[in-house]
Symmetry: C2
């Protein structure tokens, strides 16, 4: 009996050990395979991230088309990245000044800044299409939506989805932040226009101001554009 019991015990132990060993080995293998999967996933995520950042980096060399027809400023035409930098900074200041006025704290500052940062990234694939490029508004929109979809897929994961969501929200003007960033997009352009006009006295960029008539609905937007207009050189 003892022997049997021992044997059984032994067998049980053995069985348990085997089972335990098997679980442990399986666990090790799973863990190793998870590590490999996790590692592969991270490597793939890294590759996608750098691909995405490289595509968006093309905005450094993408000229803002609107200015290019003015031969006086050809050598100083800003890039889409230049414009995106300052509109993001404007969004940050706009958000901070709103926070100073306790009664009107209605905008999400992080959303404002990041939306401004990504609002033109589809142009890294399709370029800066303006109303003078011979492409209809609908066609431009289709091209940009496709480009954004490609960028989302390139980056992947939650990051890709978050950036696409922000971009679409901006495009559709479907939130307060989106409507503010749309105002800032025009304000950044007008500030740049007034700076070009002050630097190149023969250049008259009235068409840019005219294109923004009635665009400013926020109190800050109205005050900012008034100040920018005040800075235009007297002709």
């Amino acid at each position: 009996m003892r022997s049997t019991r021992t044997s059984r015990f032994s067998s049980e132990r053995c069985h348990n050990t085997t089972k335990s060993s098997s679980v442990s080995e399986n666990a090790k293998m799973t863990s190793k395979s998870q590590r490999v999967d996790g590692e592969e996933e991270r490597t793939s995520q890294t590759k996608n991230t750098i691909d995405f950042l490289s595509i968006c980096g093309k905005l450094k060399q993408t000229k803002r088309t609107g200015w290019t027809k003015y031969k006086e400023i050809t050598s100083r035409v800003e890039s889409v990245a230049d414009h995106s930098f300052r509109i993001a900074l404007m969004a940050f200041v706009f958000g901070l000044q709103q926070e100073e006025d306790k009664e009107e704290k209605v905008l999400d500052v992080q959303k404002l800044v990041t939306m401004a940062l990504v609002h033109d990234i589809a142009e890294s694939i399709v370029g800066d299409i303006t109303p003078h490029c011979g492409i209809s508004k609908e066609e431009k929109n289709t091209l940009e939506v496709e480009a954004m979809e490609k960028l989302k897929e390139t980056l992947g994961d939650v990051a890709g989805e978050t950036i696409e969501t922000l971009w679409l929200e901006y495009e559709n003007g479907s939130s307060r932040e989106a409507r503010v960033v749309k105002e800032l997009d025009k304000l950044e352009m007008l500030l740049q226009a007034s700076e070009y006009e002050n630097e190149y006295k023969d250049v008259d960029l009235t068409e840019f101001y005219s294109s923004c008539d009635g665009s400013f609905k926020t109190e800050s937007g109205k005050r900012w554009v008034e100040e920018i207009l005040r800075r235009r050189p007297v002709r």
Copy 2:
């Protein structure tokens, strides 16, 4: 009695009315004067804001000095604003990917992005000073601190203070976010270096990679630099 009471009542009412009227008039005057003050304050804040944004806009025309000595890429040297745009985008992606990994949610995404956005704004006044400009590290730091102080005073209010605080935190590397943005500053430069090397096959930018040896402490930073190095053209 009645008359007296009425009279007293009347007098009280009168007194109250006078008092009330006087308070009301004072209130009106205060309110008007506050409105005038408030209006003046807003006008002044708007002027300061546009001044600040115009100074920072100079980063669009400020070349990143490091690349300028490579004559092959002279015509394609990026601006400090170009660099600032992509580092802010990198910071956003870095923050979002961290959020996907629930266990490591330690960084404030808004702080990461806005710190990246403003990390070079002092250069809008002092230019992009590199170790090859003949200016010591201490002197460069003094110049930039003074420039940042000027920018803070130009913008004023909470917004000016917030931006200066972020900039100083970055300069001193005094938070996790600051240390990450310092890594991103180098990663953005190396990604740009690898892109230039792939575009201009004769250009060898090894000195930029060497200057970053041992700079990457975060797991993502290490993976990103490995991927960037993998993209350098084979010589």
